[in-house]
Point group: C2
Chain length 376, copies 2
């Protein structure tokens, strides 16, 4: 068998989540607890009734590709040819990494802490990957100088998840400008930016940066999973310059042929509706306000969430995050994700999601605060 497959380990997140039981307060969830809007499904069903469910083109339904390109309206990326529809943002990122980087020569730079899948995808492809860690003293804020200092000779692409999982930090306009200026000042082949925008509709600051608006060598991955409570639909996309997208389509065609036609019709209805992609924004804003208040009251050290649906709290000095998460689920029946699941740089932190009903989130935060207090 392929040795790169054999070496993949079971996810730490799943090990902790497996302890979930009756009555657990679940702050481990990585998906919305909201229900999706049934109108989108009704629209897709009418389509299937009228047309059956045939293959679309490899790159996706032309109308959907056009709708996505028009909605985001990134400079130089406004046509159907700038979009490839994928099986969720997971395949979007996988196809992007596999297409963009030559395993023989190139390196992927990953801005950390972040979701572990980028590094694991690269490893499965035999592509060199290296992390550049934001400063813990600055609550892991995106710092362009650090990112630029992390660029090595072989770096050909930099992946940034903003709003970030797990930190909840957002790339601000000022830092994005510094990063882009530094990249544009370089000579030789341009370095690509890969912007994972999966939490775009959960942003709680005003000056968030969209790299594709600022830098032509940007590739964006996203999906309707988080924005519309459609994680199980597996409908994502890649947006980028046509020269890249036409190659990404080839990779995608061999991996999965094309994306589910039903799911594409659901997405077409979302992008056809004015504000469809934003339909859950007000719910998230209300949750966010409640969570920030509960965290403030808890007197724990936490990272003020600027985006995504996570909040991170600092454990007492010397407490291992995996041990803490295990004690919390076993002794206090509250599920939180240990920071170490996002790499050593995030050891000592817990990631709490706040998509459960607000009273449960509040109760969970209380129990964690009580746990932390016992150490102080």
């Amino acid at each position: 068998m392929n040795p790169r497959v054999l070496e993949i380990e079971t996810s730490l997140i799943r090990k902790v989540a497996a302890k979930r039981r009756e009555g657990t307060i679940d702050l481990g969830l990585g998906e919305p607890s909201l229900r999706p809007n049934p109108d989108h499904f009704a629209y897709a069903m009418r389509y299937i009734e009228a047309h059956g469910i045939r293959y679309t083109a490899n790159a996706g339904d032309l109308l959907l590709r056009e709708a996505i390109a028009r909605h985001y309206d990134y400079p130089g990326m406004t046509d159907a040819t700038n979009v490839c529809v994928t099986t969720g943002s997971q395949e979007a990122m996988y196809v992007t990494i596999k297409t963009l980087l030559d395993p023989a020569t190139d390196e992927l730079l990953i801005v950390e802490p972040t979701f572990p899948s980028y590094a694991k995808m690269a490893r499965l492809e035999g592509i060199a990957a290296r992390g550049v860690t934001m400063s813990e003293g600055d609550d892991f804020a995106f710092d362009a100088e650090r990112v630029v200092a992390g660029i090595g000779e072989r770096t050909r692409a930099i992946v940034i998840c903003s709003p970030n999982n797990p930190t909840g930090r957002v790339l601000h306009a000022g830092e994005a400008e510094k990063l882009v200026s530094a990249l544009e000042a370089r000579s030789g082949e341009p370095i690509w930016l890969i912007h994972d925008e999966i939490y775009r509709e959960q942003t709680f600051v005003e000056d968030e940066a969209f790299l594709a608006e600022r830098y032509p060598h940007t590739i964006v991955t996203n999906s309707v999973s988080k924005s519309n409570a459609l994680t199980g639909l597996r409908l994502g996309w890649i947006i980028g310059p046509e020269s890249f997208v036409e190659n990404a389509i080839k990779t995608h065609a061999w991996l999965t042929s094309c994306t589910d036609t039903f799911a594409q019709q659901v997405a077409l209805h979302i992008f056809g509706e004015l504000g469809g992609i934003n339909e859950h924004v007000s719910w998230y804003r209300a949750q966010w306000a409640g969570v920030v208040e509960a965290l403030e009251t808890s007197r724990m050290h936490y990272i003020r969430p600027e985006g995504s649906f996570y909040a991170c709290v600092r454990l007492p000095q010397g407490v291992k995050s995996y041990d803490a998460a295990m004690q919390l689920i076993e002794e206090r029946n509250v599920l939180a994700i240990p920071g170490v699941a996002f790499g050593d740089a995030f050891e000592g932190w817990l990631r709490l999601s706040w998509v459960a009903p607000l009273d449960q989130v509040r109760e969970g935060i209380k129990r964690i605060a009580a746990y932390v207090k016992e150490y102080v």
Copy 2:
């Protein structure tokens, strides 16, 4: 960019199919023209209304995995742990090849003529692939001796598509027995068999062989695409020994995370219904009888279809299949796929699909016969 992606060429099949126009008799189609059974969709909609559409486990919904394992009932592969649900059989085959073979040492042997995607997937993964061609003099019947003679020192897996695309040949029990005996008589690490069963429900002989019933080191890929006219649903699966499937699930998890929950519910309804996977079998049998009669009447040299929904006809000596396909679509408005799209060994042949309404298939065969006659 990844040089292995850059070298992928546009599919010949798509080049010819792009010439389709108003009134074309389309014998190029690779998907059923039947409509799917709406009951399956109604069931999935009820599920979504009750539960939303959350992620399933990476390997798929447990009930669906159990239902698939039970339905096929392959020895040693009867549990959920023997099944991984995928984004169509395309991802099933991709994950299988990527998981099973070590690019550094292993070679994939492909029984040809066959669909070009196996070789292209291997090339994209940097895995050595070699074809072993069945005998044209024997109308490309599966021949175990030829397959065994094709095994090289580095061969670790053999892929067989039966019923076959494009030839319509089926692997018979006698040949399967010979192949399995030869593999079992070998010393050292076993060679794996990968059986692409995508046309399983379009079989028109009585002694077709299912390799997983005969040989423990078999991996099966399949989907509901062809059996239930659900090509656009992208719902497939891998069945195999647990030791392989647990690794395949890891590859699948990083590629696409999990398969569409809605599509999995559609499939659960199909496998829950008695005979659900066979619901279109009688339609295919009727089509098959009509096609065989039309081919017999045409007096062309054709391969009697034993399975799949293709029939292949021999072009006059010296006529290139790509030129013939282009002339047929341009001058006679009938679309057929040139044999060369399936490799040099199938040059001089045309593949006709027969999923269009029978009167159109008959008219298309007539036009092709008239074209062929002009050369004689």
